[in-house]
């Protein structure tokens, strides 16, 4: 399951600390030597790469222990018959029994067998080999050496059925996590915990992460009860390790190139010609008259700045082409990341402190107005043993995020309009003359003044900013008590404080109210200067404060008598959480001057808005593990939970689960099969609740809405109003999710092949359903627990790895998964297709079948009037499936869907990730591909959405080359129409359904570890240099400009990047 070998935190630096340690050992040596009749044993501890500093050597059964020095040497006092235990994190322990007169012991440690790997589970850990639930874990190493901003980017495709979607390249956009597919009609998401505290992990520093565990099935997640219905992601942060103090410094610079799949028409003449064809076909008028066409031709043949403008009477028109991509968009977006961490341990304590900094710029070329994202991360952890039964730990996790971007004025002048700026001018031109030779002086004053109508440029150059600052502080104080042998009690209290400060400055911008045409009939006097979309100016400031308290207390007791075939462990715990959110917003209109952006410096009307909410949760949980003969595994989990989100009587519920495993490979009859290292089958069943209702904190309490309307009851009087309460159901309770899981884990061929396979069924029962009621109800239907859903799926992960010889190593890991969901119960009495219905496969796309494009007017025999008017050759031939001569949508019910049927499914299936790891001596190359094998997508047809020819303002070459005409009968698209006037060819249909499968090279990292002899000369412990690329290559059947990963939205504001990063890591 674990693709990446556990990291070895090798410490090879001489520090003051290690010298002190040595001195201490020396003292011990002398003191010890005088008290006992022991001999001094010296030795060297090595691994396959050489001496191992910081390894621990303990005389078994005593507290007598030492660590190896920088050169791997140690010396210790021991007597004959003593057993020396040599250990180091990440390596198997080795025991050496002292024989008489032995004074030299050299030990070579071998890396931990992965079977002994320990995985973090809910409120505890478990040996991977003994897991009975569906748990996947990766080490934080997977996130290293990559120019990623957040954990989500790093985990995409790594764990099968941990599905992560990242909508765009905006660093402030949180990735969406999902485990095992469609959750509930009400949505739902995995519970994400950082060291046991629910947190937004978008701003977490990936470098601070020690490990990530994903609890997929009910049995492993049951301990989290009512929030874990759709899985749990556990993130454990790094902590100090035994051994010498280590200082790690990493620095990385990267350059991202926006992934734009556009191919704009750069020739205005070609554009206008094609546009006229479309316009004539739809509206029977041309969009561009002869004069324009003639001028466009001149520009097209000779694109000079003068030719970009032509005179039509007293009007000056633009016919040029604006290469906005190269003029205003950055070719490379810079980003930098720096991390510093210090960790170490003394005998009684350990510590880990890290500082992280990220700076990412946006896509605007102009540096002064570019988007700027900065993030500072601090993690400080101290763990100290007060005495042999008491341990305290303190943690502070602080994140400061700042984002500075232009204020959003209007869609028309957002980055989206870049796409349609091509045929528009951006500034008053500098021409030798304007209407008549010699009139330049009349217009000189206007030269260079910005145009306001479709150009975003004046808005980000002169406009206000949107400043967003978020501070997140998580403090944890924990206490661990070992009251007796084999028993551990832990309590921890974590307040999490989040503070958000947003300042939105809508300041006035000034320029010429024009886009592409200038009326100069009055010598420039009638040029209109205005504020475009910025005439209503305001300052808005908002604060949000979120407090979240988590208290956990849990104890475990291990029963493991020496020599007995029984092993048992019990965990019992209590969890309580409380959250409160407060929000305050003030807005004041009419700034005195755009230069002073403070709410005080305004003269217009003012608005204030506030809100507050709170929620609480409490639960008691247990886990029992039982292992017999190290072969038969049994685990019981459960939780009794209560949530403030439900009515008093329905507030409490019990969620039990159990799982069992059989390590077949341990059976005697298997011992002959030496090629099987490990083979285990396991199964689990459990029930969980879903209380995740998003922001609906009081779904059972009817409340009246209130607010202040902008309806004016008199001059300056906004109308305060109170609106009626909605309908609520008084007997609302949790959605119940039960899941069944069967899995098999196998390690074969001398640990070379590691395979894990799971099948699961997840039934979501009593889904809170907001039935679409007939509109006469006059309000949204209350949520009631009334619908069921079943999700089925499987997941596979397989790793093949081989150390070919001393120099060569390679490993290949595949993660593949699938899931499908179906509605098994839903109250939809009329079978309306606008709602869910029983038997519906989630993601179904209803549409028409088609038979190509009409090649001749005479081919149009069916009545297509229900889909549009004015059918002609080149239009889409919708199939009349019922043969009644009319193509129609029926009444939109299952019983009568007209000629429509299910033509595809938008669920993304067979998601995969392939990781190839190659190492040669000091070089390593890691490549990671990720993608989806099956899924359909019908592009949205709303105005200004890309894809459909002439539906959006921008125009691409394929509009011309791939639209039907009598001479281009095999074209993909129909004969051209102006899409926002005539969408008859865009009714959902199978011809334009897109295959959403893709493969993308997410990551390619080449790392070089500078050899030790060179490194030691420059006085550092280790030095790595690397190159890492993200999103370097992709393949998809999806037609440009659609991007398979950005699919759900076509109005992309912040492009994803292809990123090249260069980094340096230094260990001191």
């Amino acid at each position: 399951m674990d693709f990446f070998k556990k990291s070895k935190q090798i410490t090879r630096g001489k520090t003051l600390f290690s010298i002190l340690q040595k001195g201490l050992l020396l003292v011990m040596f002398f003191v010890g030597g005088q008290l006992m009749a022991q001999q001094t044993i010296t030795g060297l501890v090595t691994d396959d790469q050489g001496p191992l500093p910081g390894a621990t050597i303990v005389v078994k059964g005593t507290s007598n222990g030492v660590t190896t020095d920088f050169d791997g040497n140690f010396s210790i006092k021991a007597s004959e018959g003593d057993i020396l235990v040599v250990s180091f994190v990440g390596f198997e322990n080795q025991e050496v029994t002292m024989s008489s007169n032995q004074d030299i012991v050299n030990v070579s440690l071998t890396p931990d067998n992965e079977l002994e790997e320990v995985v973090v589970t809910g409120y505890g850990t478990q040996k991977k080999v003994n897991l009975t639930g569906a748990v996947a874990a990766v080490s934080g190493e997977v996130l290293e050496d990559r120019p990623i901003l957040n954990v989500g980017e790093g985990l995409q495709g790594v764990i099968p059925n941990l599905n992560i979607d990242i909508r765009n390249g905006d660093p402030t956009t949180s990735p969406e996590f999902n485990i095992r597919g469609f959750e509930s009609i009400n949505g739902g998401s995995p519970l994400i915990l950082v060291d046991n505290v629910p947190m937004d992990i978008g701003s977490l520093n990936p470098n601070d992460i020690e490990s990530i565990s994903v609890l997929k099935d009910a049995s492993s997640a049951a301990i989290y009860g009512a929030r874990a219905a759709f899985g749990v992601i556990l993130i454990t942060t790094k902590k100090g390790k035994k051994g010498k103090a280590t200082v790690n410094l990493s620095t990385e610079f990267s350059w991202g190139k926006p992934i734009m799949r556009m191919d704009p028409i750069t020739d205005p003449f070609a554009y206008a010609t094609a546009r006229n064809v479309a316009s004539l076909s739809t509206n029977n008028v041309v969009s561009y008259d002869d004069a324009y066409m003639a001028a466009a031709k001149i520009y097209s043949d000779n694109p000079t700045p003068e030719n970009a403008w032509f005179r039509d009477g007293t009007t000056l028109n633009y016919v040029g082409y604006n290469d906005f991509m190269n003029t205003y968009l950055r070719e490379w977006i810079p980003q930098q990341r720096h991390n510093l961490s210090v960790s170490g341990a003394t005998e009684k304590s350990n510590y880990y402190v890290s500082l992280g900094f990220i700076d990412k710029k946006g896509w605007i070329k102009n540096d002064d107005h570019n988007i700027d994202y900065d993030r500072y991360n601090v993690l400080a952890k101290v763990n100290y043993e007060i005495n042999d039964w008491l341990e305290m730990d303190t943690k502070a996790l602080i994140t400061i995020e700042e984002n500075d971007q232009p204020h959003f004025y209007n869609w028309d002048v957002n980055i989206n309009s870049f796409a349609r700026m091509g045929a528009n001018a951006t500034h008053f031109p500098d021409l030798p003359f304007y209407l008549t030779p010699g009139d330049r002086s009349t217009y000189e004053q206007h030269i260079g003044q910005p145009f306001m109508t479709v150009s975003p440029i004046p808005y980000y150059e002169q406009g206000g900013r949107n400043l967003n600052k978020q501070v997140d502080v998580l403090l944890t104080q924990g206490i661990t008590i070992k009251p007796m042998k084999n028993m551990k009690v832990r309590a921890e209290f974590s307040p999490n404080y989040t503070y958000v400060d947003i300042e939105d400055q809508r300041t006035r911008v000034r320029g010429i109210a024009a886009g592409r045409s200038l009326d100069l009939s009055d010598g420039g006097n009638n040029l209109v200067y205005g504020n475009g979309f910025s005439s209503t100016d305001y300052m808005e400031k908002s604060f949000e404060k979120r407090l979240y308290y988590v208290f956990n207390a849990y104890a475990d007791y291990t029963f493991e008598p020496e020599g007995s075939p029984h092993y048992a462990k019990a965990t019992l715990g209590f969890n309580q959480e409380y959250g409160k959110q407060e929000y305050l917003r003030g807005k004041a209109y009419s700034l005195i001057t755009p230069k002073i952006t403070n709410i005080n410096a305004t003269v217009g009307s003012q608005e204030a808005y506030g809100s507050a909410s709170h929620t609480s949760l409490r639960g008691v949980f247990y886990r029992l593990n039982y292992i017999f003969q190290d072969k038969y595994l049994l685990e019981l989990n459960g939780r009794y939970d209560a949530s403030s989100r439900f009515p008093t009587d329905d507030r409490y519920d019990f969620f039990p689960s159990f799982s069992a495993g059989w390590k077949i490979s341990e059976e005697s009859f298997m011992q002959d099969l030496t090629w099987i290292d490990n083979l285990k089958v396991r199964g689990s069943y459990g029930e969980l609740g879903n209380q995740l209702l998003g922001d609906d904190y009081y779904p059972y309490i009817p409340t009246m809405g209130s607010g202040t309307s902008n309806y004016l009851t008199g001059s300056g009087s906004r109308a305060p109003y109170v609106s009626p309460a909605g309908l609520v159901s008084s007997e609302l309770t949790w959605e119940k999710v039960s899941s069944t899981n069967f899995g098999i884990d196998a390690t074969l061929l001398g640990d070379k092949l590691d395979v894990s396979f799971d099948v699961f069924t997840r039934v979501t029962k009593d889904m809170l359903m907001m039935v679409e009621q007939p509109s006469i109800l006059g309000t949204s239907a209350p949520k009631t627990n009334a619908a069921d859903l079943e999700t089925k799926g499987w997941e596979l992960s397989a790793t093949w790895k081989d150390q070919l010889n001393q120099d060569w190593y390679y490993g290949v890991t595949l993660a593949l998964s699938d899931s499908q969901a179906e509605i098994t119960k839903y109250d939809n009495p009329t079978g309306a297709l606008s709602e869910y219905y029983t038997g519906q496969k989630i993601g179904e796309i209803w549409g028409y079948k088609t038979d190509g494009l009409f090649q001749n007017d005479a081919d149009i025999t069916n009545d297509l009037s229900a889909l549009g008017n004015n059918w002609k050759a080149g239009d889409l031939n919708y199939r009349d499936t019922d043969g009644n001569g009319i193509v129609e949508p029926g009444n939109n019910t299952l019983a009568n869907p007209g000629d429509r049927g299910v033509i595809g499914n938008s669920s993304l299936r067979y998601r995969f990730g392939i990781n190839i790891d190659l190492r040669y001596k000091n070089w390593s190359l890691n490549t990671f591909f990720q993608g989806i094998l099956k899924g359909d997508y019908f592009p949205p047809t709303g105005n200004w959405n890309a894809f459909w020819p002439w539906n959006a303002g921008n125009a691409e070459w394929y509009y011309i080359t791939d639209s039907w005409s009598p001479t281009n009968r095999d074209a993909y698209f129909p004969g051209p129409h102006i899409g926002y006037n005539d969408k008859k060819n865009y009714s959902v249909n199978d011809r334009y359904l897109q295959d959403a499968s893709y493969i993308r090279l997410k990551q390619l990292t080449l790392n070089y570890k500078v050899p030790a002899d060179i490194v030691s000369q420059i006085g550092v412990r280790s030095l790595n240099v690397y190159y890492s690329g993200q999103n370097l290559w992709d393949a998809t059947n999806m037609r440009a400009p659609l991007d398979p990963e950005v699919r759900p939205t076509l109005t992309q504001e912040y492009y994803k990047n292809r990123t090249h990063a260069f980094g340096l890591k230094i260990g001191l």
Binding site: V285, N410, N526, F533, L727, G778, A781, A832, E835, P889
Partner: protein, 597 residues
């Protein structure tokens, strides 16, 4: 060890006491919302509750009554200024207004969802949130400790909203489900019930109107409903229902016609309102182009817009989208002798573009741009537009129409060219002039096509007096163009007066439907005369792209020629009512689609 264990268990017990045994920990009530139980006490409670009706109904897409203009980009599609695009008054050709053109040409389909395009999407079979809010209010006003007068006032206000909502649904969809209580999930007979009869619904509407007119305060408020508003709304709705019943042979019209006449008469007799008196020669135009109409004696109710609070961009969109007025409209204005252009010796014809303005009802030149008036109105693409007008699609520069007839009613250069969404063009939802027209029409209908001179003198002739137009007599000459409409010459003139006076205010399409004159929409739209002389005069460079067609052998601009809307249809068996959107029907098939769809 034992003692230590005990102590630890003890301390945990204490922790559990603090955290565990406190049930109120899980009791979390809303912190920022009002509960039903603590409301409904004072008059202020009732007032702010009723404010929610104003808040909801300012969404004119869902509630197309008391209409104003939508906000920002949505100004382009929802406003009463665009509404005439469905009729023979204007010829919108802009792509964004193709929904209006589709209705006008009878080429619209059943929309898949009520959120889709017009009709039945825009202005569609939706908005029952308002009915629910009103019915909940009506069930609770009684709880307040206030006088009956107060209670009745707010009840009247609520019921007036309900009446407008239902009358609008009846007008567009024929029948509708009537509910006068809060519907719950238990009311399956309602949720999955059929539509109620027109008789039942309109009977209830009339009850609401009567109660409202009797009990609402006579407070002269222009931004909230008042007694004047109630009377005008009552006359409007009852006239709609009365004439619809009469011309669609549904029977029972006299009750409604009488109620319409009575309500209008009460408003007239009340004497609180009078027609706007403004600058000579611009008094009609001025009312509609002013940004500030506070306290205007003619305006009974308006949607108020103010910078920084509620603004629109409607004029900016509309000037480019309305396409221009039609030949049919322009020719309907009387000549200054009170005779129609078809009869008057004063009519100079249209051989010369400016001749059409000669000797005409003064409202023509205040509604349609005379080239010589460009400076007066600052008409054009900006305030100092030096282009010559009229301008037609295809010509370079300036502000263009599709018909050649530029509409200047409502046009205000400051509002039309205001920076994006910063205009405060008021929405005049109710004005006194309509009451005069409603009165005259109701009286004439009640009189079987005959109306007394006295009734004309207190109604239509007041309108005529405002601009110095000759009076209408009770026995006018029949305009031969309307002689086959099957109505008296007096009614012809009353309807003409209505078309002229209320042009561009969103009445025409509804009027044609209630008069069962849908066939008028089968007549093609034309614009100005487009013979060689006009081409040479207006478009010497031959830039105009709009086609022309022959009317009586003379070429006129034909704005829809070559488009989907070239040959308008009006199927009398289906087009009087709009189709109900598919998603509405699929949720309750018993609503049943309207006939013919």
């Amino acid at each position: 060890m034992k003692n230590r264990t005990k102590n630890i268990i003890k301390s945990f017990a204490v922790l559990f006491m603090i955290y565990g045994c406190n049930d109120s920990f899980l009791e979390r009530q809303p912190l920022d919302q009002i509960s039903d139980a603590s409301f409904w006490n004072t008059e202020n409670d009732l007032m702010v509750y009723n404010h929610s009706f104003y808040d909801m109904t300012k969404n004119d897409n869902t509630y197309p009554f008391l209409m104003g203009h939508d906000d920002g980009f949505d100004s382009h599609r929802i406003s009463y200024l665009h509404y005439d695009g469905m009729s023979d008054n204007t010829s919108p050709r802009h792509g964004r207004h193709s929904s209006y053109a589709q209705i006008r040409a009878g080429v619209y389909n059943i929309p898949s969802s009520v959120g889709a395009n017009a009709p039945a999407g825009w202005y569609g079979y939706k908005g029952f949130q308002l009915v629910r809010a009103i019915n909940i209010g009506l069930a609770n006003y009684g709880k307040a400790v206030v006088s009956d007068e107060v209670k009745n006032h707010y009840e009247a206000e609520a019921r007036l909203f309900r009446a407008m909502f239902y009358a609008n649904k009846i007008k567009n969809f024929g029948t509708v489900q009537w509910v006068d209580k809060e519907v719950t999930l238990a009311d399956e007979d309602i949720l999955y019930g059929a539509r109620d009869s027109r008789d039942l619904v309109m009977g209830k509407v009339l009850e609401d109107l009567n109660f409202a007119a009797l009990n609402i305060r006579d407070n002269g408020d222009q931004n909230k409903l008042s007694k004047s508003a109630a009377l005008l709304i009552k006359s409007r709705i009852c006239l709609m229902e009365g004439t619809w019943r009469k011309y669609h042979s549904l029977g029972g019209e006299s009750t409604y016609l009488q109620a319409a006449a009575d309500a209008a008469k009460e408003l007239i007799d009340g004497g609180k309102h009078s027609l706007h008196k403004g600058a000579a020669g611009r008094t009609y135009n001025e009312l509609h182009s002013q940004e500030s109409i506070d306290g205007n004696s003619e305006v009974i109710f308006f949607q108020r817009y103010e910078r920084g609070a509620r603004t629109n961009h409607v004029q900016s969109y509309n000037r480019g989208y309305n396409g221009g007025a039609t030949k049919s409209l322009v020719e309907d204005y009387l000549c200054s002798d009170g005779l129609p252009t078809s009869l008057s010796p004063l009519y100079k014809g249209d051989a010369n573009y400016t001749d059409i303005f000669e000797n005409r009802d003064p409202r023509l030149r205040q509604s349609i741009l005379h080239p010589a008036d460009q400076a007066i109105y600052n008409y054009g693409n900006h305030s100092a537009d030096a282009n010559t007008y009229p301008r037609i699609q295809g010509m370079p520069g300036g502000l263009k129409t599709y018909t050649g007839y530029h509409i200047i009613k409502v046009y205000n250069v400051g509002s039309a060219h205001a920076s994006y969404n910063s205009s405060v063009t008021p929405g005049i939802s109710l004005r006194y002039a309509e009451a005069l027209l409603n009165y005259a029409e109701a009286k004439a209908e009640l009189g079987g096509g005959v109306i007394s001179q006295a009734d004309l003198d207190i109604s239509i002739n007041k309108l005529r007096d405002r601009d110095g137009m000759v009076h209408l007599t009770s026995t006018p000459v029949m305009d031969p163009r309307y002689s086959t409409d099957g109505i008296s010459a007096a009614l012809v003139e009353i309807r003409r007066e209505r078309r002229i006076e209320l042009f561009f205010e969103g009445f025409r399409y509804d009027d044609l439907r209630r008069w069962k004159q849908g066939k008028k929409l089968e007549q093609k739209d034309y614009g100005m005369r487009w013979d060689d002389a006009h081409k040479a005069l207006i478009d010497p460079d031959g830039k105009v792209t709009v086609k022309s067609g022959l009317v009586g052998g003379v070429p006129y601009i034909e704005p829809y020629k070559g488009t989907d809307f070239e040959t308008p249809k009006f199927d009398e068996s289906k087009h009087y009512y709009w189709p109900i959107a598919l998603d509405v029907l699929s949720q309750n098939p018993k609503l049943e689609q309207n006939p013919g769809w």
